[in-house]
Symmetry: C2
Subunit: 235 residues, 2 copies
C-alpha cells in the first residue's frame, strides 16, 4: 500500500528520472555534475548533492573521475522508476477519453459575437491556430443542468489558446478554443473566454459558416457538439 517511490524526496526522484533520460538506466554513463545541473536547471552544487544522496540510498552507483562521474542507476533505482512508470501508464491509459459530447438549446445572445471576433487579431489567430476563417458571429447554446459536471472534463481536452490584447479604449481578453463537430457535420470550435459573463451552462461556438443558417436553427432548437479527446499520450 505504501509505494516504494515515496522513499525518495520529490527532487531526488526528478533527478533520478533525468539520469534515466541521460541513459544511466542501461549502463554507466559519463555525466558531470555541471552537465546534469544544466539540463536540470539547478546549480552544480545541487546536482552534486543529489548524486551523493542518491548514491547513499543505493539508487545509483558511480565512480568519480577527473572527467566526470560514471553513473548507473541501480536495480533498486530502476525498481522505483518502474513503479512510477506503472502508475503513469495505468493512469494515462484510463484517461484516453475518446469523446465528449453535449446537447444544448440555442438561444440568442447579445449579438456581440461578431463585434468581438472582428477586434484586433482574433480572426488571424483563429485562422492560424484553428485552421478556418470563422463566420462573424457565435452560436450560443445552453446545456442541460445535469451536464454541468461533465462540462468540467473539458479541461482535459486539447485546446488552443487565443491571446488577448489591449485595444485603444479597452482590453480584450484571451480564451481557449476546443475543436468541435456540430451536429456531426460542421467543424467549428467552442470558445471559452477567460473571463466570461455567462455561467458554465453556456457555450459559445464559432464555425466557418453560419450555424443558424446551415441547420436552420431558431431559439430553443437543439444542437449537439462533439469534442474529440486528447490524442493518446505516449512515446
Amino acid at each position: 500500500m505504501a509505494p516504494r517511490y515515496r522513499q525518495l524526496r520529490p527532487y531526488l526522484l526528478c533527478t533520478l528520472v533525468q539520469l534515466l533520460d541521460l541513459g544511466a538506466g542501461v549502463g554507466p554513463v559519463r555525466v558531470s555534475t555541471t552537465e546534469l545541473a544544466s539540463v536540470m536547471g539547478v546549480s552544480q552544487q545541487s546536482a552534486s548533492r543529489h548524486l551523493r544522496l542518491l548514491e547513499g540510498m543505493g539508487m545509483v552507483s558511480r565512480r568519480v573521475e577527473a572527467e566526470g562521474s560514471l553513473i548507473s542507476i541501480s536495480a533498486e533505482g530502476l525498481g522505483v522508476l518502474g513503479e512510477v512508470c506503472g502508475v503513469l501508464r495505468r493512469g494515462l491509459e484510463d484517461s484516453a477519453v475518446e469523446e465528449l459530447s453535449f446537447e444544448g438549446t440555442v438561444f440568442s445572445g447579445m449579438y456581440q459575437g461578431a463585434y468581438y471576433l472582428s477586434q484586433g487579431d482574433y480572426l488571424e489567430q483563429i485562422r492560424e491556430k484553428l485552421g478556418f476563417e470563422p463566420y462573424l458571429g457565435t452560436l450560443n447554446i445552453r446545456i442541460r443542468e445535469g451536464d454541468l459536471e461533465r462540462r468540467r472534463s473539458l479541461d482535459r481536452m486539447p485546446s488552443v489558446r487565443i491571446e488577448g490584447f489591449r485595444g485603444q479604449a479597452r482590453e480584450f481578453g484571451g480564451g481557449r478554443c476546443y475543436p468541435v463537430v456540430v451536429n456531426g457535420e460542421v467543424e467549428g470550435a467552442l470558445v471559452v473566454a477567460d473571463r466570461t459573463s455567462y455561467d458554465l451552462s453556456v457555450m459559445e461556438i464559432i464555425a466557418p459558416v453560419s450555424l443558424r443558417e446551415r441547420f436552420g436553427l431558431r431559439d430553443g432548437d437543439t444542437v449537439r457538439v462533439m469534442i474529440s479527446g486528447p490524442r493518446r499520450s505516449s512515446s
Copy 2:
C-alpha cells in the same frame, strides 16, 4: 529540447502524479486536502498549497466544496504527465539487461567464509531470502581486469539484502546477495559485503553444495558465474 515537465517544481510533479493515481486523470474526483495529504505523507497545508499552485498553473481544475474538492487534471497536466511517462518508458525499455556473466579464476581465501557464515543469523537469512541452505564455505574467484567495468552493472541486478548484526565482541556487517548460476549448473549466490577487504576484482560465491567438490576445482581453475537481469519493470 526543453522538456515541458520542467515547468513544474519536483514536488508539484509528484503531487500531480499522486492525483493521477487517485483517478483525477479520467475525470473529476472528490479528494479532500486532508486525504491527499495523508496519502502523500505531507501536511494538509502543503496539500492545499500544492493544489492551489497546480490550479494556478492550469495543470488541474477543481471546484472547492464543503465535502472536499472535485479535482481533475487538465489536458495541460495530462500532457506533462504523458511526457514523463514517455521518458520512463523509453529509459526502462532499454534497461532490460538479460544477462551478465563473468569468468574468473579460483583462488584460496583466508578460509574465513565458513566462520562468517555460521555467525548470528546469516544462515537463517540466506535460507529465507535466497531459498537454500548454504554449504559452509565460500568460493573466491578473481575476475579479469577487463571485466571490472562490467562488474559495476551488478548494481542494476536484482539482489537481496542480508542484514548485519552486533555480536558479543564485534560487529558483523551486512551485504548484498545476487542469485547466480555457476558453470551453468549450480544455483548459488554472489555475496558482496558492504565493507569488504577484497578489491572489486574479487567475488565470493556461496551455494547449497561445495563448489570445489562439485566441479573438482583447484586454485587457478576457471569458473563462470551468470547473473540474470532484472525482470522487466512495468505495470
